[in-house]
Structure formats: C-alpha cells, structure tokens
Point group: C2
Chain length 585, copies 2
C-alpha cells in the first residue's frame, strides 16, 4: 500500500502522479471500511479525496495553513497528517473525532463544527501573518452549501480588503446536505456550466482573482491550478467542481442520504441498524406539520439546510410545496424572515438543533422578542442526551434563551403536552414561543394536559406532598418522578412533584404557597446550571428559610461524552439527588 509510506504530508512530495492516484483509491478504501462500521460524513469526504491530496502536495502544512469550513470534509487531511491509524486500525477508530481538532495535530488550528467561519478565520490568520511580516499561504476550504451563511460573505468581503495572500477553495458539489437554496446557486451552476466563464461572477465582484477547475476529482487538473495560486499576494478563489460521495456509486446516486451515513453494509449501502418505521418526536412532528399545512395555507415550516432533522425528505418537501422553506445554512435569516412572516399574516415555525440556535441570539432578541412576533421556535436535541460532539452540545439553550425578555420558552414533559403547546403556540398571536422538543423516549401524560398556555408561567403540581418539593424540567421530569418515589420508599415522606412547563418565568404564587408547608425545593434541569432555571428559584427564595438544591450540568465543553457518566458526575442520578435531600431535611 502506498498509504503505508504516508506519515506526514512531506511524504507526498516525492510521489508520482500515478502514485497519488493510487493513494486516492487506498484512502477511499480505508474510509469506506471505517465508516461502514462507525458511520460518518461520507459524501463530503469521498468527494474531497483528490483535492485533499493535491492541496497537501502543493502546500507545506502546517507552515501553510488549511482551514476547513464545518470540517465535515477533513478525514483525508487527518489521514495525511499522521492520523491514518484512526482509519486503518479498528482499535484506534475512536482515537480522533470527526472534526478538525488542534488537540490531535499541529496541522489543525481550530475545533470547528458550525458553518461559514473558515474565511473569517483565514482572514485573521492572514492578517496576523502580515503583521508579523511572515509569508505562509492561508487556505480556507468551504463547501458550496456553507456559502449560503452570511458570515462566509462577511469573510469574503473582508478578504477583498486584505490585499495579501488568502486562498479560498470553493468545493462545489452542487448540494448542501440536501439541495441548495437561494439565488447564489443558479449562479454557481452557470459558472460550472460555462467552465467558469459566466458573467456577473460574484467572487470577482468582491475583488477576488478567480480560477475554475471543472475536474475537481482529478489530481492533475487540481495541481495545475494550486501551483499557480500558491504564494499569490491577492485574495484568490479556486472554484472546483466535485462529486459528493465520489467513487461509491450508491452514494453518488443518493447524495442527500449519504451526507452523513450511519454504519452500513458496503455491498448494498443498507444501514446496519435501520429500524424501519421507528416513530419518535421527529416523525410525529413531521406528521403534524403536513396535516397543519393542509388545514392552513398560511402555516409554513422553515429549516436551515437540515430538512431531514424533522424527516422532511424529498417526498415530504414535494407534498409541502411552498409551505416548506429551506433557507440554506442561514439561521439568522430564517428567524428574521419568520418575524416578517408573522407580521404579515403567516404562521411560521422554525426548527433546528439547539446548537444552531446559538447563531441567532440577536435575531431572537431584536427581531422576534422585541417585536413580540408570534413565531414558534422548535429546539431539537436540547438535552444531555442530544448531540455529543463538543461543537454541537445541546445544553446551553436555557441560559442563552430564557434570559431574553418577552420570550415564552416551554419545556414539555411528554407527547401530549408537546403537541398541545405546539398547537397553542401556532394559534396565539401575542408571544414569541420556543419549545424544547423532548429528547427522552416518547412518554404519555398521566394528568390532564391543557390546550391553553396563555396564562404564563403557571406550573402544574403533579403530585401533592409536603416538606420537599421537586421541580423537574422537561426531559428530567422522569428523574423527578424517581426521586420522589425513592424518597417515599426510604423515608415514608410524600414529596411534591412539579412540572414547571415554562422556563422563562417563575410561578411565584406557587413558590410562595410552598413556603407554608415545605422547607426544601429541589430543581432538576436538563441543561447547564449557570444562568439557568434553578438559579432563579434559588434567588427567589434567597431571603427566606427555604433550602434550595439546584441540579443540572456544570458549565463546560465536553467532547463525545457518555451521557450516563456525565449524569453521574453532575450528581444527576435519583440516588444522588436523594442523598442531597436527606442531608438537608
């Protein structure tokens, strides 16, 4: 194997073109092998094999610096920069993560998992280089999908001002996770179809030198251009056309399903653990959306390039028609656009993962809440049981969102409550409402769920007791149930169990009432404690004799964690909570 000889990028330099081509094949083999077992970002990496080899052949990493946008496409880079064992040796499969990571290698500069940041990072590295009087190449690598993000444009705009070396490789495989959306994409197609000659070139408009490589999966074609642009002292775009999933026909023909792929059988492409017909909150939400669209032509669902997250695949998107809007990787636009819709007779719901709401703090505050725009935000994977990559954590939404005035943030504890809240939110026209989609397995209400949430901040007492009250938020309601059960078993005490439902405000009437017959209030929340829900309760009781115990997660970035370990470390097991209660009663 040629790959055996590659321990660092310098090992590429003496290779012939035919050896480089052979290497591309070998890299595809080891990636196939690993991803068939572990899953991974199949499409982006298979499409970027030749380009990665050509980049490392041409430039001198780490002196020259590569910045991978989102870093969905960095596997080959990892293989070429001393981390190939993580692909060739099954025992080392877990020794690296799926994104660039400076803890792993001097060839990586940032932990990155959100889109559209690479050009800004590159501008900064180029600027610092210029201030130091150094000369290295700074190369940002960005997919066509990420180009829909506003920050990518801010970076392109600033690069035009730098007046020195910065190279932006636009990896254009003509799709994001699903198809691309926006006026930019017919333009990119025109550029592809005209071999880079189409008029109104947006990159030239922004001051870039522009090169087009039609054969972006051909090492020779790539090398010819990369050599030309190396050491340029001008902002330069190299626009390369590649094929997503290149080299595996099954993936090439179904690129949306193969952007990220769970473990699969190489022969057929079928998923190893496919549970056909499995139904969870995502599927139920999709069904609700499709039904609601039929009933109300002004109802619309917005997503930002992740339609599959609520199971809107091609078929559902066709059924929904213009009531389903994928705005591209442009969360800010999605939220502000929803504000516009809500103020002109539309009924918009925007849904995305918790981690991506981080891009929209100002849009939630300034465009929605300040204007009380009746928009519904559905927050997915907001849980310790959500996404586990350090770039995609789902437990900072409570501190981030609940402290914005006017927002109504709801935390349902079961299926009936979730849909009742969702229906109410779409119907009402006074508040911006966010709802944390439960992450725990589907459960059903064992109490009567209301269909009206307009009396804000009213909690529900699900079990009446005394002395100890447990306020258990959303997904952690089940932990609360177990705590009072255990407490009853061990001490005979019947504690009170409360579902607060609202996390943007306190039920002060109930809290005052509790003072009469309770001496301890316990809060349990599926999120970072600092700035969260429980601390507001502690503050409320600060001048009283009430003891308050707040349970939740520590404020920290954790990577690829085991949720059970994290729950234990944060004393979030019923047993530990019980122990703490017993210490104060």
């Amino acid at each position: 194997m040629i790959l055996d000889k590659i321990n660092s990028p310098s090992d590429l330099k003496s290779m012939t073109l035919s050896e480089l081509n052979q290497l591309a094949g070998e890299i595809r083999s080891v990636m196939m092998q690993k991803m068939s077992v572990c899953g991974g970002h199949f499409g982006p990496n298979f499409g970027f094999v030749e380009a990665s080899i050509a980049l490392h052949y041409t430039f001198e990493s780490p002196k020259d610096k590569f910045l991978f946008d989102v870093s969905h496409q960095c596997y080959i880079h990892k293989i070429l920069t001393g981390r190939k064992e993580a692909f060739t040796n099954p025992e080392k499969y877990n020794s690296i993560n799926g994104f660039t990571n400076p803890d792993e290698s001097e060839h990586d500069f940032f932990k990155v998992g959100h889109s559209a940041t690479s050009i800004s990072l590159a501008c900064g590295m180029a600027k610092a280089r210029d201030l130091r009087g150094a000369k290295e190449n700074i190369v940002a690598i960005i997919g066509d999908g990420a180009l829909s993000g506003g920050e990518a444009y801010e970076g392109l705009n600033y690069a035009g001002e730098l007046g020195s070396n910065i190279i932006v490789v636009v990896n254009d495989n003509s799709m994001a996770i699903a198809e691309n959306h926006g006026g930019l994409y017919p333009h990119l197609k025109n550029l592809r179809d005209s071999n880079g000659q189409a008029p109104n070139n947006i990159f030239k408009a922004l001051g870039f030198d522009y090169y087009y490589v039609n054969e972006g999966n051909d090492i020779k074609s790539l090398l010819e251009v990369f050599v030309k642009v190396k050491d340029t002292n001008r902002p330069t775009v190299v626009h390369i056309k590649t094929v997503k999933g290149k080299g595996y026909e099954i993936a090439e023909n179904a690129a949306e399903n193969w952007h990220w792929r769970p473990p699969f059988y190489v022969e057929t492409g079928e998923m190893r653990n496919y549970r056909s017909g499995a139904v969870g909150y995502d599927e139920l939400t999709r069904d609700f959306f499709l039904q609601k669209m039929k009933e109300d032509p002004t109802f619309a669902v917005l997503v930002a390039a992740v339609p599959g997250s609520v199971r809107f695949y091609k078929e559902e998107r066709i059924e929904a028609g213009r009531q389903f809007c994928d705005v591209g990787i442009a969360e800010e636009h999605a939220i502000t656009m929803a504000a516009g819709m809500a103020k002109n007779g539309g009924k918009p719901v925007f849904v995305t993962d918790c981690t991506f709401f981080q891009r929209t703090y100002d849009q939630i505050s300034h465009d929605l809440c300040l204007n009380n725009a009746p928009v519904t935000l559905l927050v997915r994977n907001a849980s310790v049981w959500g996404l586990r990559d350090v770039t995609h954590l789902g437990f900072f939404d409570i501190p981030m969102m609940t402290n914005i005035p006017n927002l109504v943030y709801l935390a349902p504890t079961n299926q009936e409550e979730y849909f009742a809240m969702l229906k109410w939110s779409i119907k009402q026209d006074r508040h911006t409402v966010a709802i944390r989609i439960p992450k725990a397995p589907l459960t059903h209400a064992d109490y009567k769920v209301t269909d009206d949430y307009s009396d804000l901040n009213k909690a529900v007492v699900c079990k009446e007791g005394k002395k100890v009250a447990v306020i258990a938020v959303g997904d952690f309601y089940s932990i609360g149930e177990k705590v009072i059960e255990l407490l009853n078993k061990e001490t005979g005490l019947q504690a009170t169990l409360i579902n607060p439902r609202y996390i943007t405000g306190l039920d002060t009437e109930l809290l005052d009432e509790l003072k009469k017959t309770h001496s301890v209030v316990v809060t349990i929340e599926d999120g970072s404690l600092d700035g969260g829900y429980g601390q507001k309760i502690a503050s409320y009781y600060g001048d009283s004799l009430m003891k308050v115990l707040n349970f939740g997660l520590k404020k920290e970035f954790i990577d690829r964690y085991d949720a059970n370990v994290i729950l234990r470390e944060n004393r979030l097991t019923p047993e530990n909570i019980l122990k703490s209660i017993k210490n104060v009663i």
Copy 2:
C-alpha cells in the same frame, strides 16, 4: 407650507413635481430645526429626503410595505405618515423615537435598530403575502454600509429563491458611519462610476433584476424607476446614489461627523454642548491602543463600523495604519477573524457596544471560547447608564456571555483596575477575555490593584466586616460602598465589601469563609438579574443558612428610559438596599 397639507402619504398623490420638490426643502427645514435642538441621525436622513418622497408617492403604504434597515433614515417616512408634529412642534419632539416603531404608526412594522435585517424581514413579509395569495409590494430600504452585514447577504440570497415581488432599494451614499470596508465597495463604486453598467454585478449574480439611479437626490429620476419596478413579480434591486447630509454643505463636507449629530448651531454646525478635551474611558482606551501599537507590531484593534466609539477618527486611523481594522458592520466576522489572528501570532482586541455583541453569541462560544483563543473583547455601554433606546440596551451581556464555558469576563471598578486587566488580557495566551468598560465617571482605586489576573475568580475583599457582605459588581461598586456606609451609620454594623472582579465564576473559597462570620450576602449588579451573577451566589448558598439578596435589573425591554427612575423601580438605590438588609438581619 406644502407640508401643512400632508397628513398621510395619500396627500402626496395629487401633487406636482414642483410641489414635491418644494416639500423636500420644507422637510429639510423642519428636520434641521429639530435636530439642531435634539440631535439625531442627520446624514442618513438628509440624504434620503427625495427617495422617501418618491417612494411614498409611488407606492401605497401601508398596504405596500416599507422596511427600513437599521431605520436610521426613517425621519422623512415618519413626517409623511402622520407624525410630522414630532418635527414641527417642539413640545412634541419627544413624542416619537428615532427608529421605526409599530406602536407609533401602522406604517411601521418593526422596532429596528440593528443592521442588515431588512431584506430578511422583507422576504418573510413577501413569503406570507404569497401564502395568503395577496399582491402588495414589499420594499426593503438598505444603506450601502449595512450591506457588509452577513444577514443582508443571507436575505439577498433567499430573495433570489422567492420568485415573486420583493424590491430592495440600495441607498448608496458611499459610506457607512465612517468609510466603508471590504471588497464590495470598490464594486459599488464601479457600478456608480459606470452608471450601473460595470461587469460582475453582484445583485445580478444573486438573481436580481437591477436598476441604477445616478441622481438619487432627484425626485423625477427616482419616480421614473420606482414606477417601473412597482408590482414587479421578480426580486429587484434599485441602486440609488445619494449624498449623505445632502442640502447642508457643512454636513456634506464632514459626513463622518454628521452621521449622528448632537445638538448644534445651524449657522456654523458647531455642537451646542461640546466639551473640548473631555477625557473618559474611551479616550484613555484610544491612547492606550495607540501606545501599545507602537510597542508591539502584532497588536491590533478591530471594530465593526463604529471607529468613533473608541475615538479613532481619521487621524488616529492613519496613525494606527494596518493595526486598526474596521471590518464593516460585520461583528460575527470580527470575532471569528480575531480568533484567527490570535492563533497565528496576533494580539487582537475587538471593541464594540454591548448591544452589538448580541450578534456574536456563537462566535464567542464556538470560535473563541471552545478554542481558548486569546482574544480580548471590550464591551462598551454595558450599563443601565448606557444607551437608552430599546433596540440598544446594555444590560443583557452578563446573562448572555457569562454562561459560556471558558470565557473570563471581568468587571473592573475603576480606571487602574480596567487598564491592569486590559494589559493582562493582551499579554496572556490562555483565555478568551472580555472586559466591561466602566460606564460610571472615572474613579481611582483606593486599594492596590494587581497586574495578574491568571488566578481566576478570586474576589477582593475591599473592606472587612461581619454579618453582612456586599458583593458589588463593576460600575455598581459605588452603590455597594454607599450601602455599607449607610448601614454603618444607621446600625453601627461594619459590613464586608467585596469586588468580585470576575463575573464568569465564583470565589467559592471566599464564599465558604463568609459562612463563618456572615449571615447575609447582598449582590448588586449593573445588569439584568435573570441568568446573571447574583443568582449564582444564591444557588451556591441554596443549601445553607445564608440569606442572599440579589439586586439588579428586571428582565424587560424598556425604551428611552430615565436611569434614575429605573434604578428606583428596581430598588437599586442605597436606601432601598439598606431597607432590605435591615429586614433580614
């Protein structure tokens, strides 16, 4: 006066061109009169008189909808839509605010004060219109400066997908507040210089029909084009060239100083209350920056289109040269670029107003803190004494920023401490550090200020006492001083006074120590209480006998408020705090 006849836009419709021109002159007169007394956004409004008249003449507001970006340029629109008295009658000067405001008129749709949102809002209104099957025109009005914001581009990109009526008026006066920055601007200049004919038209690239009006301060020229594009069913850009401050020569010749202008004498343009040579934190920070730039060529200051906020006017920008980077209205890019600089040998400081940090939550979290990029963020106007417009409030930064892992957020209480923190932050290379620039008048330390802040979260006990400890954050340290003075005077009790310095973590050792000799801890912070600093203290003491009283601001949007009233309403006077303390001791 023609203006006497104007009570709503429909009154324009029957006027002749010469009457419309006369009206333009009258509107300039009343705006001049009011702004010379009250101050205001002079340049943007004086440049947009003819366009506002032409828009209202052509379209049917409020059926047709105008969305003003930032809404710095909406005074004429307000005059034409029933609010002229707020300009003609001095007693009514304060009856409106300086931004669009739906509470004032059905012709306004959003409270807006941040840039680059208008096109996304317009997309949403257009989308909802299409879903309803209606037909009105949706018109976004955006300045060339705001076009550097990524969200504007996200909106332009999505508009290309709408396939229906949306009109974007690009008001190009060839500058933001100061000069524009980025590759887009030579391109806009090329378009202006070629009467709209230059190649590589960025708007056409994104799928827009494009019209250019070279005489953007000529009603006739504007009407010719607006009539053409009205009721179009295509995304359409009308690019108009205007003159900032048009009609007042003094302003035309010094446009940067006349973007926003405090009260002035009409004859000379001189400011009425100009305090020559006044020195505050902004001026001292500027001097420090200029000195530091000389000492260290890798040190750089980044701003996002508000260089004047740290007193970098033309002269200072020339002196700083490439060590001063104005990135345009692109805060996200600024922060991510700073991350890039910090990881390649640069020493970046990014400074802007508290309210604009709201646009960068994800960049602070994902690009800076996750990567521990040693960048310094200087947060201006983070105080109840900061900006008073509801769109620009400065008291949500503590909840927003302090709950992000890894960030070190410092709240200096005086001049010496501020500069010691700033110097330390620039020197160290382990943390992302944010510093709240004090807003209170300059004060000096009456204790020895350290120059090393690497031992995180260590508070300073400024006055030792017993029973009651007052932890007073940043600007509110002075309130803390008064509280313990009053307490001593009234009860003889010597309370402890603590300057926490760090607001991203607790000095748990000190808090434990306090338990021995104190029974009440009082926190006072210049920010919204919910999710803030004091609630963390309350939570920390939740299981103990310590009483905790948190003082800060209520979570709410308030507009053009009197700081003293707000302090009283939130019980943030020394007397009220004292009363609360006496209730629990």
